[in-house]
Each structure stands twice: as C-alpha cells, then as structure tokens.
Symmetry: C2
C-alpha cells in the first residue's frame, strides 16, 4: 500500500491529469506523463488500490438540472458528546439535499453543503428538518450567489 513517500514525479503528474480530466484515456494519459501505456495503467491501478484515488465522478451542472439553490449551513448542537455528534452525522446522510457534510471545530459543530431546487424547498428543509432535528441549537445559513472558484484540485508540490 504505497503512501505519499512512495510517489514519484510521474505519479504526481498522473494525479494532476486525472483530477482535471478523470475520463482521459490511458494512452492519452501515458503520453502526457511521458511513459508508455502499460506502466501508466499499472500506476493508476496502484493508486486506486492504495486508496489515493478514491473514485471518479462526473460533475453536473446543477442549475441546468433545475437545482437553483446552493447554500451552506453552519449547525451548532446543544450537546457535543461523541454519541450526539454521531447521531447528527448519521442524520445528515439521510437528507438528500445535503451534498456533503463536515464536522468542524470553532463556533459551529457541523457544516453542510446543500443543493435544492428552489428557495422554497431549501427553506422547508431548514425549518422543518434541520432546525427541528433533535439537539440542534443554532442554524446559520449562507446562500451562495455564485461559484467563484471551482478547481476542486488539491494543491501539488512543484
């Protein structure tokens, strides 16, 4: 199971390319990173099996699909014992509006990235689901106006 230390410059190039275009063919990828196709594919497989590449996703255009509202919610709980945190974390997984969620430290306990079809759907979710969930103390929401940066890329050495 290779870790960061086992990666050489070619592996980093592979990761960078696949982050930008996850559907690139292996021959295209191999020529970009400067080796032939077979060893390139072996490297990709190894990165996948090591869990360094967690998967591949198509990125969708939410507004074009009728999902016009993107918002973030900062949640504070009344009690932050381990059991309560796990309970709320589990609850977020049952809410389809929540795309991804983080447990955070600071003024709030959770940060939720939400996508909804319209403001009404989002407000219904906030009021009837989120704010009325057990143990929820505070809910602060930030509606997004527009996406300003969308790389989703992790910064790389060199």
């Amino acid at each position: 199971m290779p870790l960061k230390a086992d990666l050489d410059a070619i592996d980093w190039k592979i990761l960078r390319e696949l982050q930008q275009d996850g559907r690139m063919t292996n021959v295209e990828l191999s020529s970009r990173v400067g080796i032939s196709a077979p060893p390139c594919l072996r490297r990709v497989r190894r990165l996948e099996e090591a869990g360094i590449i967690r998967g591949y996703r198509a990125l969708l255009n939410a507004p074009a699909l009728g999902m016009d509202v993107v918002a973030f919610c900062l949640i504070g709980l009344h009690h932050q014992a381990d059991a309560e945190l796990k309970t709320f974390a589990e609850r977020t997984r049952g809410w389809p509006i929540v795309r991804d969620a983080w447990m955070v430290s600071g003024e709030s306990d959770f940060l939720l990235h939400c996508v909804a079809s319209d403001l009404g759907a989002f407000q219904t979710f906030v009021i009837e689901e989120l704010a009325s969930a057990p143990n929820v103390d505070t809910v602060r929401t930030a509606l997004t106006i527009r996406r300003v940066k969308d790389e989703g890329l992790v910064a790389f050495p060199a």
Copy 2:
C-alpha cells in the same frame, strides 16, 4: 442544447451512474440504463455538449497525500461593490490552498474551501495572505475534524 425538460428517465439514470462512477465504460453504462451502447454514448455526448455534464474528476485522498488540514473560511469585506467583489474573487483563484470558493449572502461575503498540508501552512495562509489582503474585514475559520458525508451527488427526482 437540451435543458432539464428534454431529459427523460434514461438520461437521469445516466447522470446518476456517472456521478457514482465517472469512469464506467460505455457498455457497462448502457447495460445499466437499459439501452445499447451506441445510443447511450450519443446521450452522454449530448449531455456533455449541453454542459449538463461539466467534466470528470478523479477524487483524491487528501490525507494520504500529506494534505492533513481541510478548513472553511468565511470572509467579510469592507466594501461590497461589484468591483471589490470581483477583485477578491479573482484573488482566490491565485491561492492554491483554496480548492473552491463561493460568493455568499448573509453575514459573510465569501466562503472558501481550503486544503493545506498542515496547520502551520494553513495559519500562514490565513494570516499572511487572507487577512492581509486588501479590503478584507473579517475572517472566520472552521477547521474540519472529519468528513461526515461525501456523496457530492445532486439529489434526483424519483
């Protein structure tokens, strides 16, 4: 240029499958959605050209790559005129630590999703870059403890 209204049940299935596995072969995809390969590929191409599929990304395991700190920053500016907002938005694109950024409404003006190698690197960024950038008024940070939900999927009808 097809929009939401032009999508049928098969298109939605395609989007759902490609969201879960963006590298699925077209034959596999076609069998999953119940049509043969050629029309399936045509549908995918059309979704790409329409901008409904914005691209494909490999998801990387940041901690395994030595990026141990994921944090969110809420930024408030002194002045929120259009020019100032654009200037700050442009600045976020030059910071490699910032994975993606949103302009938001509410108490803050921007929300930044950041990934750094360690706390020191993140704090250096916050103090020397973010807080000292022109027009920045307030910076609130929330360090993530762990990822609680990671679908990244948009919710679908049915």
